[in-house]
Symmetry: D3
Subunit: 72 residues, 6 copies
C-alpha cells in the first residue's frame, strides 16, 4: 500500500512530464518492492513560487535574481 | 489534538458534501476518542485529475477510458 | 481516489478504536461521495506528546499541567 | 535536512507576510538546530475556507457567523 | 525544488530497497524535470499495519486473512 | 487556522529544542498573521537517517562519508 506525494514548484511542468513521473515511480515501486500497482497512488502538488522558501528566501525572489533549480 | 487531511480527485464535490465530511469525521473522532471537537481540524484538498496517478496512469486518462471511481 | 491522513497525539488509542476510525471514515466517504471503498486509503499517525505543539506549548507540558483534550 | 509545511486558511496573506514566515522559520531552525539553511525547504499551502473544518464546521460558515481566528 | 514523501506499510523493507527508491526517484526527477538533485529531498515513512486502512479494514486484518499487496 | 508540520532527520534533537521550535513558530505566526495561538497546531516528525534521501543518497550514507547538515 504505497502512497506517494510529490511537491514541486509550479514552473511549467507539462501533462506528459507528470505522466512520466507517475508511470516511472509506480514501475520503480512495483519492481523494488513487488507491490501490486493497483495499490499505488501518487499525488503531484504544484506550489506557487511565492509559497516555496529555500534558504530563507521565496523561490520567486531567487528566480528574479537569476538563480534556477536546473541541473548543472 | 487530531488533524485530518483528506485528499480527493477534483470531480465536482459540492460545498454541502464537504460539510458532511467535516461534520461526520469530527463527530466520529469525538465519539470514538472522546476528543473535544474544538481541537479537531480537518483540511480537504482537491487534486486535479492530471495530478493523481493510480496504477501508473493519470486519473484524467482513466476517466477518458471510461474508468470511474464510483461504488459498484 | 481518496487518501486520508489522521494525525493524533499518542495517548493510548487502541487497535479497536483505530479500526472504528478506519471503517467509519471509509463508510462516510462511500456514502457522501459514492466512492468505491477499494480506492480509499487511510493512514493513522500517532505523534508523541513532546512533538505536538498547541498554543505554543508541547502537549506533554499541557498534560503535566492537567490540561486534557477530552470532550467537556 | 528540515522540511516545513505550513497550512493556512486563504484569507489575504500577502507576499510580504509569506516572506516573513519563510525567513523567520528558517532563521529559527538555523539558530535552534544549527542547520545549514541551504537544506531547509518551507512550503506554504493556503486552503479555501470551505475546505477547512474546525469543531465540525467549515471555516466559511464560522466567518459568516462573525467568528474569526484573530488574536484576542 | 522537489520534495517527495513515500508512505508504505511496514513489512520488511530493507535499507537497500530504500536506497533503490531514493536513487531511482531522484534520477527520474532529474531526467524528466531537469532538476538539480541537490534540491531534491525524499522522505520514506513506514506505517504499522494497524495504522493503514484499505477498503475500510486495517491492513493487519487483511494480512491475517491472507490478502497481500504483492504484484500478481 | 494554521497547522505546521516540521520534518527533521533524527539526530539528537532535545525536548528543549522542540519546545523552542514550537514556541518560536507559534509566536511568529501570531505576530505576522495576527492569529489566535489557540488555533495553531505544530507537529514535529523525526525521520531516521535511512529514510531521508538527499541528492539521491540516504542521509545515513552521507553521514558515514562525513557530510553533515551543520551550518557552515
Amino acid at each position: 500500500m504505497p502512497y506517494v506525494k510529490i511537491e514541486l514548484t509550479r514552473e511549467g511542468v507539462t501533462r506528459e512530464q507528470k505522466q512520466e513521473l507517475i508511470s516511472g515511480i509506480t514501475n520503480l515501486i512495483t519492481d523494488v518492492l513487488n507491490k501490486d500497482p493497483h495499490l499505488t497512488h501518487i499525488v503531484i502538488q504544484e506550489v506557487d513560487l511565492d509559497d516555496w522558501g529555500y534558504a530563507g528566501e521565496q523561490v520567486s525572489v531567487l528566480r528574479e535574481k537569476g538563480i534556477t533549480a536546473d541541473k548543472k
